[in-house]
């Protein structure tokens, strides 16, 4: 079944027709908005930020202090939200969720995966994160504490994973970072 044939697509279209009929927006305005939202949005953006933080200590510090400014420095837009980057350490692992809906730094991570929006992930990761991570094939040692960040307001979180071992260049490091690593459901 293609995306257009899904029942939710018909529901969205009916909603669009009603707000257009009410004079609140137009089809063109909606199309422009969606194009701008998705234009260039991909997890490689987050990966570039992470790889720079791994290779440039001053950038890492700036990133942890002010995510929006540091993302902007590399040319990435984070308009409309506060970006907070949370750093994994040998003692602490961070995981991101939005229990109320599916908030997420879309411009840096690309459209969110289906599981991120699922009721199962949203309700379980705040309650039993270690089990949820294990189900993703990610077994975290017992001595590592877990902090779950619930994006319930206007901040969007991104995880700064731990740098992989090995003598890798910044460009090589970019390719090691996955969207799951940026959410915290994978090591990197």
């Amino acid at each position: 079944m293609s995306h257009e044939e899904l029942p939710v697509a018909a529901r969205v279209r009916r909603l669009e027709e009603r707000v257009i009929a009410a004079g609140l927006t137009t089809d063109d305005e909606l199309d422009t908005l969606l194009d701008e939202l998705l234009d260039g949005a991909a997890p490689v953006n987050g990966a570039r930020i992470v790889a720079r933080a791994w290779t440039d200590p001053a950038y890492r510090e700036a990133l942890l202090a002010d995510g929006n400014a540091a993302a902007g420095e590399l040319g990435f837009s984070t308009e409309g939200y506060r970006l907070r980057v949370v750093e994994n350490t040998p003692d602490l692992h961070n995981v991101i969720v939005c229990t109320l809906c599916s908030c997420y730094p879309l411009s840096l991570l690309g459209p969110s995966p289906g599981w991120y929006k699922s009721f199962a992930y949203r309700s379980r990761v705040v309650r039993e994160p270690r089990h949820v991570l294990a189900e993703f094939g990610f077994d975290l040692p017992d001595e590592v504490d877990i902090r779950v960040w619930d994006s319930s307001a206007e901040t969007r979180y991104m995880v700064l994973p731990r740098r992989p071992e090995g003598d890798l260049t910044e460009e090589e490091l970019v390719t090691r970072v996955s969207r799951k690593g940026l959410i915290g459901t994978a090591a990197v």
């Binding site: 994006s151 307001a153 901040t155």
Partner: protein
């Protein structure tokens, strides 16, 4: 800014009859302010079409999983508008 990092606060326990962004699982629970997140329009007002909406500081508030669920060694950080919180005597 009213609440400094480390301040102990309780999330509002009531269940308003309008939209709000206090997740049900932290209602009535005590957490600790991690950091301020700037000032943002209150979703409760925006959802009800109140113009202009109140603009309030938002805080990251950390709760121990054991308090929320009775089990678990992790912590959960939830972002809450100031009027969702009340200070708890130290």
């Amino acid at each position: 800014m009213t609440y400094a990092p480390g301040t102990r606060v309780r999330a509002r326990a009531d269940d308003p009859d309008h939209h709000t962004r206090v997740p049900r699982y932290v209602r009535g629970h005590v957490g600790e302010i991690v950091e301020p997140e700037g000032e943002w329009p209150l979703p409760d007002d925006r959802a009800r079409g109140i113009v202009p909406p109140r603009v309030e500081p938002v805080y990251a508030v950390r709760f121990p999983a054991r308090d929320l669920w009775g089990t678990g060694s992790h912590t959960v950080v939830v972002d809450l508008w100031e009027s969702y919180l009340e200070e708890v005597a130290p």
